[in-house]
Symmetry: C2
Subunit: 293 residues, 2 copies
Amino acid sequence: MKGVVAAVLTPMRADLSVDRAAFAAHCRRLLDEGAHGLGIFGTTGEANSLSVGERIEAWEALVADGVPADVLLPGTGACALPDAVKLTQEALAVGARAVLALPPFYYKGVSDDGLFRFFAELIERVGDERLRLFLYHIPPMAQVGFSPALIARLLDAYPGTVAGTKDSEGDPARVERICREFPQLTVFAGSEALLLDTLRWGGAGCISATVNVLAREARAVYDAFQAGEDATALQAELTQARRVVEGQPLIPALKAIMRARTGDDGWLNLRPPLEPLGEHAFASVSRVTLPNM
Amino acid sequence: MKGVVAAVLTPMRADLSVDRAAFAAHCRRLLDEGAHGLGIFGTTGEANSLSVGERIEAWEALVADGVPADVLLPGTGACALPDAVKLTQEALAVGARAVLALPPFYYKGVSDDGLFRFFAELIERVGDERLRLFLYHIPPMAQVGFSPALIARLLDAYPGTVAGTKDSEGDPARVERICREFPQLTVFAGSEALLLDTLRWGGAGCISATVNVLAREARAVYDAFQAGEDATALQAELTQARRVVEGQPLIPALKAIMRARTGDDGWLNLRPPLEPLGEHAFASVSRVTLPNM
């Protein structure tokens, strides 16, 4: 798992169920556009607005519909240990090579000891040596996060199993620190604005929401870096293109762009508490022409 | 639903499953000690650390084990709409007269429009005129809460169905405001330190974690108030007794007191990320003699 990974949007029908055909089509399009991997059912994918059963059913359908299981990085985080265990087991069963796990996020101010115990129980209850666990650090949303001390402790206790992290704290200095302090960890930045920096710091790439609409541009940065070329200008263009969603609620804005791109009104459906963009914001986002629209 | 309601602890076995026998025994003891109602599977009950299926199974067992269904106020909040619908339907099916619903708590900074839509979908999908919904306002934990404007809008749209609230913001002025502004709402304070004040403001009582160990004392305040007596001294004693858990993590401290009171080591089990008290804190809490220990 490396490179450009989309934090994949989940298309929904008017009744708010997952739109199976649109989901598979979107995933295939992202791969065609150059995404290396598909981070399904993370924050962008409205994972926590779906039941455990809905998530499992949707990713089974995705693989049945021809999306390769080995590019999937399913979100398997949950507040309840049995839910996290079930989601992780089913992700492995469907053929995913790694999973992205939120910390339990209901109780606030919990200790590293408590979080360590959660992940120790998770790993031991899953009991599958194929498990590769990516730690999903996103304090702006989950509030609860992974301190470097906790990451070190988990790596010590479960080397090989604790395999990576997505860092969405929004602090470049933290991504650099995690890359340097834990070279054995596959480190993804949570924004493609940090893609080139993360690669320079020895990280693996980015897992980002805006990759849903900028996969080609992000891939171009990655490929230029790998080819030893100067990717600075490409990164600047990517960072600029990403500004289309600035000041908008991210997930509704990305769905609005997908609506404009595909003509499919289904892209406007979101599970509450998320709301479609208002008319004005929708017009503003729809007017923007992204590089590959 | 009125008076003294315990935010019931969930006893667990060493394997972290719900201890059915201890749960029923604890609920019966609370009713014997004078609790009017049982708020099972709220924050204190570690609800979000249990799967939907575990919660339903546990409250079915509780009723099968002789705890009257009509004193139950089950927590049915969930981030995912289908989970909230399922929990609510099953709570009604088991005979609960009302349910306590958290707002969806993963996404932060969500709009009142989005929260309104969540509860509108919930009420309409449950589609049961028996439903009495209590709004669970606990921003210190859920971060997302119910603004007075949102409460007014829900009451307008679903009068009778939106029936009450538990206010655990920790601000007495807010409880007073909600009591005065929404006389049609059954208002519970989230702490028995506010029991007498809440009754004076026209509220219904309290739903509180420390009622697990102070049901008799809280009931005495309620009864004195109802009898038209001056309950000030009883309230002062109750507020003082409650200080036993001050400065400790609340749920582990209450489980430690239950361990001291019952001699059952099972009370020390908590689901991660919650952790048992350290040795020093445990000794300190255990030394305290509560009025009815």
